[in-house]
Amino acid sequence: MAGRRVECLWKHHVVEQLKQRDRVQRQAFEEIIHQYNRLLEKSDLRVVFSEHLQTEKYEQQNRHDLSPGVEGGRSDSLQQEMAQMRIKHQEELTELHKKRGELAQSVIELNNQIQQKDKEIQSNEAKMLEYQQQVSHLEGEGRELRNSLADLERANQTLRDEYDALQITFSALEEKLRKTTEDNQELVTRWMAEKAQEANKLNAENEKDSRSQTHSIWMLLKYTFFCTRFKFIVFDAHDGEVNAVRFSPGSRLLATGGMDRRVKLWEVVSGRCEPKGALTGSNAGITSIEFDSAGSYLLAASNDFASRIWTVDDLRLRHTLTGHSGKVLSARFLLDNTRIVSGSYDRTLKLWDLRSKVCKRLLVVILLLKCRCLRVRCKTVLENDVGFLSFCPFVCPFLCCKLNINY
């Protein structure tokens, strides 16, 4: 605080001294000098004026000196001239005042113009600033757009590369697919071949079985004849094996078929079988015989891939149903006698329409199964005319035979 007081002291001293100095040196003289200068100006003007007047006065005097005559008139004319000069001077004065006013006016106008120009300059500078800002802003935007464009191009390039890579993988995969399908085809054909072999083996087995069965059935028949107290007759019917036996619905006729390619008809009269006739036409052994419900037609399936229909009365061949590609092992009339179903070694069942004489349907057998378990089902199938085709999945030659017996 002592420092502050000291500071106060010298600063205070300086301030006081300055004020004192101004009082002595400036304020005492300011007003006087100002007034002096004004007076000087005025006196200068008066000097100019008086000089001007002096020259004029001298001119006047000279003129008057040239005409010294009229004394009395001189003072009058002098006075007149004085008056005239006064008027002239006053006019000059007014003119000078006017000029001064005009100059002041022009000064004001010029000042205004200057101010306007200054304003314009300011506004122009402001506009320039704005434009500069806009320019820098737009430059910034341009840079941003260029950057985003570069980014997009890069992204595009990466996508293209990915696409190419995917394309390559795709073609590789396609190649693999092709190869696998080929392998698949190969495997399928091999498997089909294997299955065919199996089927053939199974067919062979079944044939053997059926032969032994027919033999045993014939043996059974013999015994049955015996059991039923009929006089049973044993006779040689055919030159070869007998495959099928059938009574006609009227029970008067007996039809037999065998490997000698003939269907023989017998009449059972008084304990004897009288040969009635033979139905020829088949080119291979007969496998199955059936009478129609009326007993007028006889249907025989044969090993020559065909089934035949004879009229019983005149023993004439009526129809031959060809179309199978294997031995026809069994053929049956369907309930209404206009349709025939035949099963064949070629694993198909064919449905024939006698009216139109065409094979109505063809069924391919996919599976070969042991017949024993399917006995019941087949029965159901054949009973039901309509549902038959949609249902039947299987046939084996031996099975049809069995069915016939039971049916």
Partner: protein, 298 residues
Amino acid sequence: MTSLGVEDELNSNASCRHLMNVIMADDKDVLRDVWFGRIPACFTLSPEETTEREAEPYYLLLPRVSYLTLVTDKVKKHFLRVMKTEDVEEMWFEYEGTPLKWHYPIGVLFDLHASNTALPWNVTVHFKNFPERDLLHCSSNSVIEAHFMSCIKEADALKHKSQVINDMQKKDHKQLWMGLQNDKFDQFWAMNRKLMEYPTEEGGFRYIPFRIYQTTSDRPFIQKLFRPVSPEGHTLTLGDLLKELFPAAICAEDEPKRFQVMIHGIEPLLETPIQWLSEHLSHPDNFLHISIIPAPSD
């Protein structure tokens, strides 16, 4: 200096702030008084000049901080009215036989030559026989501007190693000159305050720009390097400056004063810090012009 008790200390805290405000106001006042200082002068045409008529003296209040050739247009016009044009060469001034150097500030010239004489200051105007050996020619205002700016740059070289003045733009330099030429205090100090700043850790300028004038010396002035803060950190005063550079100006208590140390027409106390003097009592050219004159023997 009375010692303060605790009570006084507490009371003085509030008055301290008030004091600070007063001090600030004082600083501003000092700047203004320095700028607007005037000297009444009477210009008389030298009797040697031939005139058509008798020339009246011309009175004028001269600004202390300006230069003779800058403010004497009216004087020239006044005297040219009574002179023939063919007799007129460059105008020059003289006081009691000494040609007045226009490149010194007017206040310095007055303090040096006529501070203890009767006012107004009687300056004689000449139009011929220009003293080539004593005075510089001043053909136009641009000469004065060049001189003024070079003084400012020299001062800033001492104060700030020319950093502040070089950082300013050309228009700022122009503003300094226009402020002086048109007598615009605010316009001038808007720029000049930058030259009066210093980094707070330094405590002041690098060197104080000052010149000590004396009429009775063959040297024009004394100018030396002087730091405002001592190596120990004390702020140095006017007394310290004089002790080093003009010890004769300082006399003991009992001796009569032999010299007056005048700045801007006043004698600051020797305790005044030289840094403060440089900031507030410099001329517009940023120099502290100190006039040492013989003490009046009345």
